[in-house]
């Protein structure tokens, strides 16, 4: 599709929170995402599942603008994210545009990526103070409230090296939320955790689903959890959406052969 065929802005009556439009990503000769089309509506919780290497992480990283795009456009809240309008057409976004456009997106990583030289509280305050320019007192209040929410308030002055994986991940969630994002991305946030602490992180995500109007996109290998909390499940296979559907229906009655194979393989592994 010609670049000029992409709208500079999505029309009022057709504005999902996120729209992937023919999004292509490749590393050299390897095409990781192949003309991906995906809409996520406001407040929706979408879970991405699929075999290793199917491009799940890449979808999230593209949306967080950690990767450059090779084809297509991503729109967020109706406005282009990966591109910016210039002389009536979309051109690749520059750093300045990106900083504005991605401000409504937050992300949590598999390996937490907390800043090791800052305490839990300092980790949470860093963005609000440095990026949003909030006064310290306000940033602190906001961060403490969030640390309370994730059950980490009594560890607020600990450095990450003194926290368990589950605790670090909860701080990382609080840190991302402190930026007041509208969209939250979770990339296998429980995969690096010991089984006995997975629950403390999934409970926080559950809480977010129930109490906030966040739009969420989550990659997970925990099928039970995905089934419980997602509005919709997308099954990725080789950089494409092989099948998607409402969570309950997707798991009870998958249509495609590959989906069935994948689900029974995961079930066997559990």
């Amino acid at each position: 599709m010609e670049m000029s065929a992409y709208p500079l802005e999505l029309p009022e009556d057709d504005r999902p929170m996120v729209r992937f439009m023919n999004v292509t990503k490749s590393y050299g000769a390897l095409t990781v995402l192949d003309q991906l089309n995906l809409d996520i509506t406001r407040g929706e919780m979408v879970t991405v599942i699929g075999p290793s290497g199917s491009g799940k992480t890449t979808v999230l990283r593209m949306l967080m603008t950690l990767e450059t795009i090779n084809g297509g456009v991503i729109y967020v809240d109706g406005k282009p994210l990966t591109h910016m309008p210039k002389n009536g057409v979309l051109v690749p976004a520059n750093e300045r545009y990106l900083r504005k456009a991605r401000s409504m997106i937050g992300m949590c990583f598999q390996h937490f990526n907390l800043f090791p030289h800052m305490t839990a509280l300092q980790n949470c305050m860093e963005g609000p103070v440095q990026v949003l320019g909030l006064p310290k007192a306000e940033a602190r209040a906001r961060s403490e409230e969030l640390l309370e929410m994730v059950g980490m308030i009594d560890k607020k002055d600990q450095y990450p090296s003194r926290l368990s994986g589950g605790q670090q991940q909860r701080v990382a969630i609080a840190r991302a939320l402190a930026m007041r994002p509208k969209i939250m991305l979770f990339d296998e946030v429980t995969s690096a955790l010991d089984p006995e602490v997975i629950g403390e992180v999934t409970n926080v995500i559950r809480k977010l689903v129930n109490e906030h109007d966040l739009t969420m996109l989550m990659v997970t290998h925990q099928m039970g959890f995905a089934r419980d909390i997602s509005d919709r499940v997308c099954f990725f296979y080789q950089g494409r959406i092989e099948e998607q559907g409402e969570a309950e229906a997707f798991f009870t009655n998958p249509q495609r052969e590959r989906t069935k194979q994948f689900l029974s393989a995961v079930k066997a592994a559990d």
Binding site: L66, N113, H117, S161
Partner: protein, 222 residues
């Protein structure tokens, strides 16, 4: 000339050498300060990946690292005036030493910065931090502790290289010892004293840097 150690003479020249030691320390300190700042500037410029800048800079750094410091000192001091740049021995010496060591320190910084995990950059980006804040608040604080050992080695290196400044007449330890020697025709005591002074100052530096590294790590909660 006598090969007998004379204590009387030793005590007599000690104050003068002590004063020269102050100059040596001053020269090391100023040279190192220049090298630290300039080295960081070079390391950051090289990271921009902007070829028209990084290619010549890389070549220049390589050039400076593969030619002797003493030549660079001569160059700044004697060749400068031919282009109308007349600098005092001190200024020339500090420029030459600072520049020389900045090339080594930029390499230390580069290694330190590259040791910061990619996830840290990505977390900073996900928080929408500016490039400047990402460096100043996230990357450099983490790159610092692993760089301290290397920085310490070059601090000792600069200190031991300051005698080269004697060739353009900076009144540091070596130049003072030479002067004493040519005035009194006694070289044993002044040169021995210079050696002892260097030894006494170099040895604790390594231990101090280790302490400093531990302190920085503690300070940064790591």
């Amino acid at each position: 000339m006598s090969f007998q150690w004379k204590w009387e003479f030793t005590w007599a020249i000690l104050p003068r050498l002590m004063w020269a030691t102050v100059n040596t320390l001053l020269a090391s300190g100023i040279g190192y300060a220049i090298a630290m700042v300039l080295g960081l500037v070079f390391a950051l410029l090289l990271r921009t990946g902007w070829k028209p800048l990084t290619l010549p800079l890389r070549e220049a750094i390589e050039f400076i690292r593969s030619t002797p410091l003493v030549l660079q000192i001569f160059f700044v001091f004697y060749v400068g005036p031919q282009f109308g740049v007349r600098l005092s021995p001190w200024v020339s010496g500090m420029i030459a030493i600072g520049l020389h060591y900045s090339c080594y320190l930029s390499e230390v910084y580069r290694a330190g910065i590259e040791a910061v995990p990619r996830g840290q950059w990505e977390a900073a980006r996900a928080l929408n931090m500016s490039t400047r804040d990402t460096y100043m608040r996230i990357v450099i604080p983490q790159a610092l502790p692993p760089s301290i050992a290397g920085m310490g080695n070059y601090l000792v290196g600069i200190f031991k290289d300051t005698p080269m400044l004697s060739v353009i007449g900076v009144a540091e330890l070596m130049q003072t010892a030479n002067a004493i020697g040519s005035e009194t025709y006694r070289f044993l005591e002044p040169y021995t004293l210079v050696g002892v002074i260097f030894l006494l100052l170099s040895l604790p530096t390594a231990a101090f840097m280790r302490q400093f590294e531990a302190w920085v790590r503690r300070k940064l909660g790591m």
